[in-house]
Amino acid sequence: MAEAKTEPTATRHAYGDALVELGEVHEEIVALDADLAVSTQAIKFGKRFPDRFFNCGAAEANMMSMACGLAATGKVPYCSTFAIFAAGRAYDQVRLGIAHNELKVRIGASHGGVSLGEDGASHQMIEDIALMRAMPRMQVVVPADYNQAYRAVLESFESNDEPMYMRFGRPSTPVVYDEIPETLGGGVDVVREGKDISLIATGHMVWRALEAAESLEREDGVEAEVLNVSIVKPIHSEPVLESISKTGVAVTAEEHRVVGGLADAVRHVAAEQHPVPIFAVGMGDEFGISGTGEACMEHFGLTARGIADRAREALVLKPIVSRPPLFGPEWT
């Protein structure tokens, strides 16, 4: 077991580190990559277990279908590349060969979102969670920091035999968990308790949501509860419902389009079981842009300030919608 990180570390490093640990124990694990093994960190597995590592070159579709063949023959493939290629270019291969066949394949999709920075829109995948959520049988895991990502990868082997998409990021990311957690559990952790508003975040937005909660408390006297959703599909509805039924209003935060991702997952749960206003922080109907990772995040408002501002808007709405009935006798 690796040491927990205390300094900001990229979640993709956890993929590489934990994969080696898994490889030591489970001979059936093979790793595939598509000429990005240093970036995805699969190279660590490749160096330790060269016979079980297949660099497929810049041919992601072939890699995913090869993983199907390997899994159908008893291996457990971990396939890594950038999220844009894993979920975008190879969608049909993942769909038929892996998800449809219910094969135990783990997709390690690195460089998710706009925080990869300089490479720009062609590489910034902002709809992968939506694509993978929509795909039948595919599980979607988006860890918040290195420590949780490390556990997510270890757990991915033992948890179940269903296909799984795991999203990692490029930049160094502050730790949310002081230790490597014992489990992802149901995939929703309350990482800060509060009563006034629920900030429901995933991936790189979790530490930002925690910062937003600090500023809301400091500047507005608002006690925000922060939830980390590390398993976006299947989403564990109970802790979400418990939080929004307590606070009555929520903001979701993701480094992803506001369509099809965490926002929709949470709104789906709420709309059917406990409707409250839910505002979303995420990417609108637009593509990414070049700049440093942090500059890109700021450009699109994917920051603690962005979350806090959205929370303030949501809090304005809260008393209005929570005063029933809107068109009752007292209004006439």
Partner: protein, 285 residues
């Protein structure tokens, strides 16, 4: 004892008859694409493949992947005649609640190694299987046969797989191309000419031969030879779409269209007459 060419030809006719019946009942499916592959599939299942229907998961078995998944009926017929499932199941193809899907489905049909139906993916799956077999020390015993269409060869992914097989030094793989020159919208020459497929595989580092895909002696010789090579092998089979049903042979406009009752009756008459002839010839020695 190995099946003779005459016996294999008779089996091919029998499988063709099943395909006509299945799709006449289903009123849906790809008959002409199944018929062009019938001789190849008969040679595989009745002579070349090492497999055990009683133990479909036998680790040392040869693998057959129908990359051109739309020709599922011909594989279903072969599987049923080898008792992977009851023959009666054939008549449930493409119908709700039944085991035999429109395209091969590994989760529902015994004997199907991987699900296919999206062209271009099959050969990559075959490469993945060979790499797993290598890790299990079975490269010398288990061979992987993929049956591709000309449409598969239009898909770029097939050439990614061809590159990978050569790069990884895979020797227990045979890509069989059912080159029938007809696709949904017209001839391959009109729609997207894939030209000399044999030369393409050769350029990718494969051993590549071209044969008559309806000549049973050529088919069996090429398949058996491909097992013994020390590099990936491609067998480009020149075939006729709709082979065995003269009303369909080489004619455009039947892709994905099931036989209507009149066509089915004519086809069955023709095929059953041939079967009788072939059976008699074998009995007469």
């Amino acid at each position: 004892m190995l099946a003779s060419a005459a016996e294999l030809e008779r089996w091919a006719t029998l499988l063709r008859i099943d395909c006509v019946r299945m799709l006449a009942v289903a009123k849906s499916g790809h008959l002409d694409s199944s018929l062009s592959a019938a001789d190849i599939v008969a040679a595989l299942y009745y002579r070349v493949l090492r497999h055990d229907p009683g133990n479909p998961d036998w680790p040392e078995r040869d693998r057959f992947v129908l990359c051109k998944g739309h020709a599922a009926p011909i594989q279903y017929a072969a599987l049923a005649h080898h008792d992977y499932f009851p023959l009666e199941e054939l008549m449930g193809v493409r119908q709700i609640g039944r085991a035999l899907q429109g395209h091969p489905d590994m989760t529902r049909t015994p004997g199907v190694e991987v699900s296919t139906g999206s062209l271009g993916q099959g050969l990559s799956m075959c490469v993945g299987i060979t790499l797993a077999l290598r890790l299990d020390g079975l490269s010398e015993t288990a061979h992987v046969f993929g049956l591709l269409s000309d449409g598969d060869c239009q898909e770029g992914q097939t050439w990614e797989a061809a590159t990978a097989a050569a790069h990884f030094g895979v020797s227990n793989i045979t890509a069989i191309v059912d080159y029938n020159h007809l696709q949904t919208d017209g001839t391959t020459e009109e729609i997207m000419d894939i030209a000399d497929v044999r030369a393409k595989f050769e350029a990718f580092g494969w051993d590549a031969v071209e044969i008559d895909g309806h000549d049973m002696v050529e088919i069996t010789e090429a398949l058996e030879r491909s097992r013994s090579l020390d590099r990936p092998a491609a067998i480009v089979c020149q075939t006729t779409k709709g082979k065995g049903v003269s009303a369909m042979e080489g004619r455009f406009g039947f892709h994905g269209k099931p036989p209507d009752p009149e066509l089915a009756a004519g086809a069955l008459g023709e095929l059953e007459a041939r079967l009788e002839q072939q059976t008699r010839a074998i009995q007469d020695g």
